[in-house]
Symmetry: C2
Subunit: 383 residues, 2 copies
């Protein structure tokens, strides 16, 4: 073991619970009682409480952004960007990541048993990206942090970053939005709707009451995941990885998985149902579909960022991302410029599709490192 | 009624049955017994039997290419191209369209009862595009036509056109391939696999035996159609048609169809199950996935067309078709050129996606009319 590897990263975390009688007010007009937000932290908060970075996770991810995920035994989902010597470095920053409200990794959601012991199912209120961010703001407050050094996220995480900038601009110094959009397009909604219909078509979904009835809509959830997974990759990446390669010599002349891409997709579906909850999938996709930051500001996206002109923004997109293609990021950048905010933008050339934000993408890593370093200097952080 | 409208188009059709004891030999090594091919004709065969055009249909379509579809009461699916004064004109050409083997509109398929009265379900052999074409060749023979003036098709119909050129080049004068590909890509296979998994996940599929058991996997088939339907449109078309428009004032804060695009997709799914059979969907998507014309010719696509250098080809693609994007058509054109065949190629600018081949697309109509006219002259057709 060399000197570098011997540095121990302090990990922490737990569950934030709101004081009795306190509610999380929701955009729908409803509220979440007995809110619990499960979170992890990496590194140490400095004395001035100025080095905290909140990482926002994507649709099916969790709070285990770095280190080792205890549920899977695998490295955290952003180990390419969060770690020693990486752009988000727990030896310099205090990195926080929490499971979104509505999720299924410890935060309150449609399948959390709650104090009564019975999961609410569809009685759980519909939540929005702004609700997720409101819960995160409570968590950040509870950790004694008045102002985050940065909020960083990709995909749905990027939507949360934009929402933070809109709702709490005074509580963040920098914002990094990767492979996201300021609103869900018709095609985005359409793909999500296919997934929801696949889940709700499964008789084991039981109108959302499956947990109480001891079953799980595994087949429907697997189909939903398969459809979504295609949208995370590019055609070029699928062709490069799989092409028309067969699973074995010759065709089966039947409906087994003949092609490697079929087998890969089936595996994606099957392994997903082991780690994710069907109702959370419904709720979180709904939150994404409802997301329309301009719509919430009179149709003018720049107006969402009027109060955020002191935040330093960095926006990334990927050339082959057809889920949130570059024009979506450009629209964000234009709105930030119109609002008078400081924004860096980089479109990264890759054939890996939307998934690139999760993969080891050297250009993303170095560009993000550069942005974070310049932000550290601008903030005068002593780290 | 003016003079033009008063011209009557002669329509014919019926079901071709093979003589007792004759089989349709299949690529799989199997065979279809008691083959029936349902077909329609429009117009009259001329004395020299030289004005016949075979139209090949796409995945979920049928033999009712023009006139009125008796099942739906609606105009035939290619009324924009087949009709009086249109590029395929039944007052000049004898137009034939047959339901593919494996289909569910009268031709033998997995859900045809057959002589025993019991639908074979998954005991029906897997078929290929070449098998479909072999059945069509038998039909054309049975109509006393030695050589077709043209074979025309879009999407899976275009695949059949290419297969005709590869297998029966001496039996056609011209070939028109619209919005197709010479092989299914990994992404094409992936989307089809999602649809198949959605069908097979439906407990009412019953291992393919649903017909015998008096049920139908309607929910699974609807989800399959919804997923596929997104691939037929472009993101731009979805955005233009639906954007984020709501079904009613305000959000439902639930899982009803809030957005018009959701409602549209649900309608597409629900109406599809009324007109299509789930097992046919499995078989026909499988045939498309297995399609790889180069693969069947030592990996060299040009070799598939070596015998077709006397056929006049016309290839069309659409700029916003992401299911069979223009590079797929260019690969066909390159191979045809390499084989020494005569080929016209046009990429048509449209935001309507793959679906453009079925819509009223003036540039397609006029370019196809021009190609057909030049072929009529080259052939010296007296019509």
């Amino acid at each position: 073991m060399n000197a570098r590897e011997s540095i121990e990263i302090t990990e922490g975390g737990g569950v934030m619970t709101l004081p009795a009688g306190t509610l999380l007010a929701l955009d729908s007009g409803g509220a979440v009682e007995h809110l619990e937000i499960a979170y992890r932290t990496y590194g140490l908060l400095n004395e001035t409480r100025s080095n905290a970075i909140l990482v926002c996770h994507a649709l099916t991810l969790d709070q285990y952004v770095a280190g080792r995920n205890p549920a899977t035994g695998k490295p955290g989902w952003w180990s390419s960007l969060v770690g020693l010597g990486l752009p988000l470095d727990p030896t310099r920053h205090f990195i926080i990541c929490s499971n979104v409200v509505g999720g299924c990794m410890g935060s309150t959601g449609p399948s959390s048993p709650g104090p009564s012991g019975t999961p609410p199912g569809l009685a759980f209120p519909v939540i929005t990206i702004a609700d997720m961010v409101r819960a995160q703001a409570l968590l950040v407050e509870s950790l004694g942090i008045e102002r985050l050094f940065a909020v960083v996220g990709g995909s749905m995480g990027g939507m949360q970053v934009l929402q933070w900038a809109a709702d709490y601009p005074e509580r963040l110094f920098a914002a990094v939005c990767i492979a996201a959009a300021a609103r869900h397009s018709a095609q985005n909604i359409a793909f999500h709707e296919v997934g929801r219909q696949a889940i709700m078509a499964d008789p084991d979904w039981r109108g959302g009451d499956y947990a109480a009835q001891g079953v799980r809509p595994e087949k429907g959830l697997a189909v939903a995941r398969m459809a979504a997974h295609i949208t995370y990759l590019s055609e070029a990446a699928l062709q490069r990885k799989f092409g028309r390669e067969l699973q074995r010599d010759g065709l089966s002349w039947g409906f087994d998985a003949d092609f490697q891409v079929e087998s890969y997709l089936r595996h994606q579906g099957a392994s997903f149902v082991d780690r994710f909850d069907a109702n959370s999938y419904l709720y979180i996709t709904r939150a994404m579909d409802y997301f329309d930051l301009a719509g919430a500001h009179g149709g003018v996206l720049a107006d969402a960022f009027r109060r955020a002109r002191d935040v330093r923004f960095c926006v990334f997109s990927f050339t082959s991302d057809w889920l949130y293609p570059t024009p979506e990021s450009r629209a964000i950048v234009r709105a930030l410029n119109a609002a008078g905010a400081r924004v860096s933008f980089l479109e990264i050339e890759t054939d890996k599709g939307h998934d690139a934000f999760l993969l080891d993408e050297p250009v993303l890593r170095s560009a993000l490192a550069g942005f974070m370093e310049s932000a550290v200097q601008a903030r005068g952080l002593e780290i």
